[in-house]
């Protein structure tokens, strides 16, 4: 259990990075996980093929919110191609803790919202079909 909610996650949950509205956002996407009630909005400012800035807003469980916070740190300043390459395994790995199957949707809501913001995708590669 200390695995599952180690300080790193709880720190991101309680002190989310890049939280709030983004002025001058060029891309924005909202999604939710109706089963849990997790909500997330990702806003990006994209210029010249780079993520110049990013913010997220949302509410929900620690896993979904920490995952979003970690993801925003990861993508800031990256090229769109680099962002596109981020997959579910990487997002799960970033959390640094084992995520049980029932919580995978919580952990991946951030990625889903990011892809929605950046490309209007509502599923991540390999996840459209099971």
């Amino acid at each position: 259990m200390d695995d599952m909610y180690r300080d790193y996650i709880l720190d991101h949950y309680k002190n989310p990075r890049n939280f709030g509205e983004l002025e001058g956002a060029t891309h924005s996407y909202h999604d939710s996980n109706p089963l849990c009630g997790d909500e997330l909005t990702m806003s990006l400012r994209i210029g010249n093929g780079h993520v110049d800035d990013v913010r997220f807003q949302g509410k929900g469980c620690a896993i979904s919110q920490a995952s979003a916070s970690i993801l925003t740190e990861e993508i800031k300043g990256k090229t769109l191609d680099e962002v596109k390459a981020i997959d579910r395994d990487q997002v799960l790995a970033n959390l640094g803790i084992p995520i049980s199957p029932a919580r995978v949707k919580c952990a991946l809501l951030s990625l889903k919202t990011l892809k929605g913001a950046a490309w209007g995708l509502t599923a991540w590669p390999g996840e459209e079909k099971k």
């Binding site: 259990m1 599952m4 909610y5 709880l10 849990c36 009630g37 997790d38 929900g60 620690a62 919580r103």
Partner: protein, 417 residues
């Protein structure tokens, strides 16, 4: 009811627990505490053995074979139906239809009765306490035929707004679909009074008894509703078993729901005659082993006694409520009393999402449900996305509640709240 037993139980819980092998399992090294009984119950040996006996001794398809295996299996299956009929005091076995679960039961009524009886402009009255299974079928039927769906609210304690219900019924209603006990809050509705009121207003009454039949004596003749549905898997039987009870006169007039083998008496290329009740509604090969399991579960519940089970659960609710209310930051939803309720307690811990709470509880071996409990309209009404729900049954103990309370403290510690 006005139960007085609060700290004592008349059940021999140790003996009961010995019948449930799964309760010895360990999760993360700790003996499991199973408190998700409103989702599904565990099964005693007696039920598993009854099913095993069919498979090992006389399995054959029912109603069809002119040989001993088939006759024995048919007899066991129809005996299970008789047990269900006696259990809910149905006037006749012809009124008991086996279905997979309460959900299929509501859909059967919505398709086979609803499509022919609910017309454009008719009003269907239901409540915000309903499980999706007793809500979405009516919502969709209303949409398809152009009827109006009226959803009765609850007060802040999670009790049905009877004033609102009466007012809406007075405006006229074709159907009242109402849960006898809420799976989200544990509230019990006074269905007997309400059914009488609805009948007076000219409405047909369907009772979703999925959370009532397993936990408290239910007598369909006393309730005097028109349809009643429930699931076997919530009452010690396997998933795949469940029943619809309906008034014979209504069932006789209804068209069938599923068409196929066993539900017909004669087929020609141009037309088909239906079989008698209840088989008219049982198309294809029934889940006959699951139904036989339900019969064995009813035997088990009757041997223990439904009243004693109900008292035991209320004792557990009282104990849990007083423990939870003593913990800062814990909010309990629904009635804070033990009157008119079943063994369901919904709560949240401030600063901890129910899913995070449930994950931490799981590490402690404590199984509760976190989520919307298939009850979105109710969650919206409560203004929360989800709750944490502990639901009790005959095998649960006060010690197990202490394990849950310890887990709550642990979660608070982890989250620093």
């Amino acid at each position: 009811m006005a139960v007085t037993v609060r700290t004592a139980t008349t059940l021999d819980v140790a003996r009961i627990r010995a019948d449930f092998p799964i309760l010895e399992q360990r999760v993360n090294g700790k003996r499991v505490v199973y408190l998700d009984n409103a989702a599904t119950s565990q099964k005693p040996r007696q039920v598993l053995e009854a099913m095993q006996r069919v498979f090992e001794e006389h399995n054959a398809n029912i109603h069809r074979g002119v040989y001993e295996f088939s006759e024995r299996t048919t007899a066991a299956f129809e005996e299970a139906r008789a047990k269900v009929a006696r259990f809910i005091n149905a006037p006749s076995e012809r009124e008991v239809i086996f279905v997979r679960n309460a959900t299929e039961g509501v859909n059967l009524v919505a398709y086979a009765w609803g499509r022919d009886n609910i017309r454009r402009g008719d009003r269907i009255v239901t409540t915000v306490l309903e499980h999706h299974s007793d809500f979405v079928p009516w919502q969709q039927l209303a949409k398809d035929v152009g009827a109006e769906l009226v959803v009765i609210d609850v007060d802040d304690d999670g009790r049905l707004r009877r004033d609102q219900l009466s007012a809406e019924l007075r405006k006229g209603a074709k159907l009242l679909a109402i849960t006898q006990a809420s799976n989200g809050l544990g509230t019990v509705n006074p269905v007997r009074e309400i059914a009488a009121e609805a009948h007076a207003a000219g409405a047909t009454v369907l009772v979703d008894a999925a959370q009532a039949v397993p936990h408290t004596p239910v007598d369909v003749q006393d309730l005097a509703a028109d349809f009643l549905v429930f699931s076997g898997h919530k009452m010690l039987a396997p998933p795949g078993s469940g029943a619809v009870w309906g008034r014979e006169a209504l069932l006789e007039r209804m068209r069938p729901f599923l068409y196929g083998g066993d539900m017909i008496s004669r087929v020609t290329v141009t037309k088909t005659e239906w079989n008698e009740l209840p088989w008219k509604f049982e198309a294809g090969t029934s889940s006959y082993v699951d139904a036989i399991g339900l019969g064995a579960a009813i035997d088990y519940l009757c041997a223990v006694g439904l009243r004693a089970i109900h008292d035991h659960e209320l004792m557990l609710v009282a104990q849990l409520l007083s423990r939870l209310e003593a913990i800062p930051g814990v909010t309990v939803y629904g009635p804070r009393t033990v009157e008119d309720r079943v063994g369901v307690v919904s709560f949240n811990i401030e600063g901890i999402h129910p899913h995070d709470a449930a994950t931490i509880f799981d590490r402690e071996g404590v199984c509760v449900r976190a989520g919307h409990h298939c009850n979105h309209p109710l969650m919206t009404r409560l203004g929360v996305p989800a709750t944490t729900r502990a639901s009790m049954y005959l095998y649960n103990t006060v010690d197990e509640l202490d394990r849950l309370v310890d887990a709550v403290h642990k979660a608070k510690k982890v989250f620093g709240v």
